[in-house]
Amino acid sequence: MPDKNLVPVRQKAFWAHVWLLLIAGVMTAPLVWMVLTSLKGPEQIAAAPYSWWPRPWHWENYAKAMQAIPFLRYLTNSVVLCLGSVLGTLFSCSVVAYGFARLRWPGRDLLFGMMIATMLLPWQVTMVPRFLVIRELGLYDSLGALIFPKFFGEAFYIFLLRQFFLTLPQEMIDAARVDGCSELGVLWRVVLPLARPALATVALLEFIAAWNDYGGPLLYLNDPQRFPLAYGLEQFVSSHSSEMHLLLAAAVLFTLPVVVLFFFAQRLFVRGITTTGLKD
């Protein structure tokens, strides 16, 4: 005789899968639609009734989209922007986080509190004077305007790294100090090698933030030669607003690197979010 409980449990699992498939389907449908539509021809997009599947497949949409904007130029700018931002962020945030985490000095907690408070300050409050400071430094209309500030640390990442540094064993740091290491030496030789996972999380989040940033280029860049992809894509929107298939092809190309990164580094994403709360 079969176990009486077996059937309801199986049935329960079945309905759970139906429900989860529905949820996951709704969440991913826009992305599937984006990819499929980017491969359709304009006549199919306008035709009724609506059909999901491209007929025929217009792979050339991607080549066309890349020719419609100076794609390589934008891509180069994006890569420079991302690498510069990641470098600046890793350097500044790890040094600062170490100063806040592993060293006792008067006023430390007060300054740390102030740093946390700046996270709650809306960017609109400092937007205008900050713009003028960057302009006075002669950085207006260059990628430097976007990269330079990254060398001064960002509260969110400093907080994330500090939390991680606090978990490292004090004995190792003391041992290095006894061996005559300077504080920077301790950081470089002991702390950073141990903090690789946290550094990877910061690098990943900052890479994506720089890749996605739209407000920065909007504010600081004027010469199309310097546009990164995020901003160049928008220029494409305004000039080709009727060609949905090309537009979506460009959007797919722009999204792809981030999605690939996500699938390779899911754990880092999750850590970044759960250790410190939200990151938008």
Binding site: A13, L20, I23, A24, M27, T28, A29, P30, L31, W33, T37, F91, S92, V95, V96, G99, F100, L103, W105, P106, G107, L111, M115, T118, L120, L121, P122, Q124, V125, T126, M127, V128, P129, L132, V133, P149, F152, I158, I208, N212, Y214, G215, L219, Y231, L233, E234, V237, M244, L247, L248, A251, V252, F254, T255, V258, F262, I273, T274, G277, L278
Partner: protein, 310 residues
């Protein structure tokens, strides 16, 4: 000895300290000062006392642009944050069931939140296209009225904004933005999932022994245990939705279109500063926005004593 430590400490944090002074503290004080000035960025600031603030108060009183921007922001913030709580909890509870392939379902639900805002905006402008968009297509297959989304000034949850002959076409530009924000709920979802995982299993076992059904378990265990995260969600969601800019700028043609229905505070502020070059007025607006967000946050913290479970 202490001085030495202070020196080392300050040296280590000096990158942040310099950035803080030059890129945060100075701008913070400068914008406060400029909010009392007339300033077009070309000449030098000219002190005008409370004029900018009086202008804001006047616009607020007679329903001018500032009042509308405030109302738009409030609608977007309240609707998107409250729906994000409901959706965050629903998705998290669904995704924490022990079923095969759970990790895949979770990844798929998180995925939209990594899509860059620029791409997501382009995508949603087309998804919500009144004629060719997927969403209206789905609505029509189930015999619901197609909506005008980003081409309409109507707000579904604000009946007085509905057009006279709406025939059920009540969703407009702000509702489109809300939908977009809910699509990117992934980050929040991870936090809810982590919180659900932290609830001691023993609580449910005890409740089951007492004969409590799943609904009662949810109401008396899950929900109270989630209140700290709900509170976090509400506070952060509020701060973030008030600051939301990129997606609004993109779907509204950089103007708050149609007819100012997506002109939120952050849009209005940006356009005042960098299109009208009215830095003084923009600074005053930024400070009013800052103080308002602070007051609401403080109020939320005060009420939290009554409903957040610690």
């Amino acid at each position: 000895m202490q001085r030495n430590e202070l020196k080392t400490g300050l040296t280590l944090i000096s990158p942040w300290l310099i950035g803080f002074l030059a890129l945060t503290l100075f701008p913070f004080l400068a914008s406060l000062y400029w909010s009392f000035c007339e300033y077009d960025m070309l000449g030098s600031p000219r002190w005008v006392g409370l004029r900018n603030y009086r202008r804001l108060a006047a616009e607020l009183a007679d329903g001018g642009t500032f009042a509308r921007a405030l109302a738009n922001t409030a609608y977007y913030a309240v609707v998107s944050v409250s729906l994000s709580v409901v959706m965050g909890i629903t998705l998290a509870v669904s995704l924490s069931q022990k079923v095969r392939g759970r990790a895949i379902y979770r990844s798929l639900c998180f995925l939209p939140s990594v899509v860059p805002l620029v791409a997501a905006s382009v995508l949603w402008m087309w998804l919500l296209d009144p004629q060719q968009g997927l969403v209206n297509g789905v609505l029509q297959t189930v015999h619901l009225p197609a909506q005008n989304w980003f081409q309409s000034t109507s707000s579904a949850l604000w009946p007085s904004s509905w057009p006279a002959d709406h025939m059920g076409r009540v969703f407009g530009s702000k509702d489109g933005l809300v939908l977009m924000s809910l699509w990117g709920i992934g980050n929040l979802l991870i936090i809810y999932l982590a919180a659900l995982g932290d609830i001691p299993k023993g609580l449910y076992e005890a409740a089951e022994l007492d004969g409590a059904g799943r609904v009662r378990q949810f109401l008396h265990i899950t929900l109270p245990m989630l209140t700290p995260v709900i509170f976090f969600n509400v506070v952060m969601g509020l701060i973030q939705s008030v600051q939301a800019f990129t997606q609004i700028y993109l779907v509204s043609d950089g103007r708050g279109d149609p007819a100012g229905s997506t002109l939120t505070l952050s849009m209005h502020l940006f356009l005042t500063a960098f299109k009208d070059l009215d830095m003084g007025y923009a600074s005053a607006m930024a400070w009013v926005m800052f103080v308002l967000v602070m007051l609401v946050t403080i109020w939320l913290f005060r009420t939290s004593r009554h409903w957040v479970h610690h």
